[in-house]
């Protein structure tokens, strides 16, 4: 039989990462194609959540709320921005962790780690793919709000969002690396992501302005990256704040990113080394 092996001296590169990312996306699409009903139900749930927000906006908008005044007074615009940014946090914080856990439980992490692809490619494509989906969801969410419910962003200054987005993402990814490292170490879905999600919903001003919170809770909320991310994005989109006005939020997010990313990388590398020591890459 004619040998068919091809000597592929491929070196780790961004191109390799992109190839795996597309292969990952194709695999997910093919898997989803087998679960059409579940896909439709998820789509319906997404639409219904926007509808629910619209009715809440009708209720709150009618009462000319003073807490919303600094954000232009439109509750739907306020809430849409809040939930979109929180979605990015959930993806950043929980996706890598969930992928590590799913790969351990389903058993494909060891098989993928046995291929020539470096660990940063094997483990990095999932979160990047999910961030892509989050961008798609955000686009749909905002489009629905604008086209169906008449939301407007008349003062939007996108430059602040563009400058702040990498910092926001970095802070979320740093938290995600910490969460994934914990998952790898304890071999359980760790509660950090769920706890952070609940705390953020309560304290960061996702669904209501933080001005409604008591002072001490507001102070606790300032320890969460999402609080500052929301200040930055809402300031840019709803208030039309300039970069200089948003500088405090940008500086704090840079601080979060500067601490969380190196800490997350260090703990994740330690957890990976530990998994290689105790043989838990494919165990659960």
């Amino acid at each position: 039989m004619t040998p068919v092996e091809v000597d592929r001296a491929v070196r780790p590169s961004l191109a390799w990462f992109v190839r795996v990312l597309f292969a990952f996306a194709r695999r997910e699409a093919r898997t989803l194609a087998g679960y059409r009903v579940a896909f439709l139900v998820r789509g319906m749930a997404f639409g219904l959540s926007v509808l629910a927000l619209a009715f809440m906006a009708r209720l709150i908008g009618a009462s000319s709320n003073t807490h919303l005044a600094p954000y232009g007074g439109d509750y739907l615009a306020f809430a849409v921005v809040g939930f979109v940014v929180m979605d990015f946090q959930q993806v950043g914080v929980s996706n890598l962790s969930l992928r590590v856990r799913a790969a351990q439980v389903q058993g494909f992490l060891e098989a993928e780690m046995a291929t020539p692809a470096p660990a940063w490619i094997v483990l990095g494509v999932g979160p990047v793919y999910e961030f892509g989906l989050a961008v798609l969801r955000a686009t749909l969410y905002v489009s629905l709000a604008i086209l169906v419910f008449g939301v407007r962003f008349p003062h939007a200054r996108l430059i602040s969002v563009v400058v702040g987005a990498p910092l926001v993402m970095s802070a979320f990814v740093g938290l995600g690396l910490l969460s994934a490292a914990l998952t790898m170490l304890v071999r359980r879905t760790n509660p950090v992501a769920a706890l952070l999600g609940s705390a953020s919903l309560l304290l960061s001003g996702v669904a209501y302005p933080v001005s409604v919170l008591p002072e001490w809770l507001r102070l606790v909320g300032r320890l969460l990256p999402l609080t500052h991310a929301l200040e930055l994005v809402r300031g840019s989109l709803l208030r039309g704040a300039s970069l200089s006005e948003l500088w405090p939020s940008i500086a704090i997010l840079a601080g979060f990113a500067g601490i969380l990313v190196p800490a997350g990388v260090a703990l994740f590398v330690f957890a990976l080394r530990r998994a290689r020591m105790d043989g838990s890459l494919g165990h659960y």
């Binding site: 390799w16 194709r26 993928e112 020591m277 043989g279």
Partner: protein, 286 residues
């Protein structure tokens, strides 16, 4: 390059050090003082390898301030070498340490002590080049995506080998044809029989261009005829036909005899004996 340790040729000295093999001898390996592993041209060179697991502590241990339970020794002081082109089986009962040894040699598990080099590279390098040259055939059914076809599964792993989509598709089809799965390439993995799954795992292991193949119980769960066919295919086409070296973990004496040039017997994590297929029954007292 290879010693004349052909089937039926009788026991041979273990390794290059010339240590004489005796049944149930504890140390049949190479002397680390004699051979510098980094200069060894063996396809696989293992020196004084050991592995101790430290299971995570339960609540009781944690309350006593201990982070781990009592260590469990899975491998101790293992030394051997495999020449290029050789097929060597690692035999032993369940829990003997075969899978642990194979996973260390594949780079998925770090050794606690000793050294191991495969295809000239340190197993601790964890590098992409190591994993390109050393294929560990992961037979675990859970490692495939069950709703996807065999072809689509291989295409995904092809991307992890660095292939472009077109290359991955072409390579996947070639390999599916080679392992006899061309007819069922588009069927979902969950409809595959046990034998088909094993063959798909083998195809996945061949996606790169490995010099050394590590297989853990490749015919586990197959019926006798299916197992025989797969063994012949492995030996004649995948390993010998392509000039590769292979280390195969098994607890089936028939498999060890029909596949290998040499057999290493493991028991309780120790290498107790090295023999050739013609003498295996005698060594096992069969």
């Amino acid at each position: 390059m290879r010693d004349p340790g052909e089937p039926g040729a009788g026991p041979r000295p273990a390794g290059r050090s010339g240590a004489v093999e005796t049944p149930h001898a504890v140390d049949v390996g190479i002397d680390p003082a004699v051979v510098d592993p980094s200069q060894d041209l063996a396809a696989i060179a293992v020196t004084a390898l050991g592995k101790t697991f430290r299971p995570p502590a339960g609540i009781r241990e944690l309350l006593r301030g201990r982070l781990t339970r009592a260590p469990v020794s899975a491998l101790a002081d293992i030394s051997f070498r495999v020449d290029p082109g050789e097929i060597v089986c690692v035999m032993g009962p369940n829990g003997a340490g075969k899978s642990t040894l194979l996973r260390i040699l594949s780079g998925l598990l770090s050794p606690s002590t000793g050294q191991a080099r495969v295809a000239g590279l340190d197993v601790e390098s964890h590098g992409w080049d190591f994993r390109r040259r050393v294929a560990f055939v992961v037979g675990d059914e859970r490692s495939f995506h069950w709703p996807l076809s065999g072809l689509h599964n291989l295409e995904f792993f092809g991307a992890l080998h660095g292939y472009t989509p077109r290359e991955a598709g072409r390579r996947a089809r070639q390999l599916l044809g080679r392992v006899g799965l061309a007819e069922v390439a588009d069927r979902p993995f969950h409809t595959y029989s046990r034998g088909m799954r094993q063959r798909l795992a083998l195809a996945r292991g061949l996606l790169g261009a490995p010099d050394v193949i590590l297989l853990d119980e490749p015919t586990l769960g197959l019926d006798p005829l299916g197992a025989r066919d797969l063994r012949n295919f492995l030996r004649d086409e995948v390993i010998r036909g392509a000039g590769r070296t292979a280390l195969v973990g098994t607890n089936d004496p028939g498999e060890a005899k029909s596949l290998s040039d040499r057999i290493l017997l493991l028991d309780h994590g120790r290498l107790v004996c090295e023999t050739v297929p013609g003498r295996l029954d005698a060594e096992l007292g069969l």
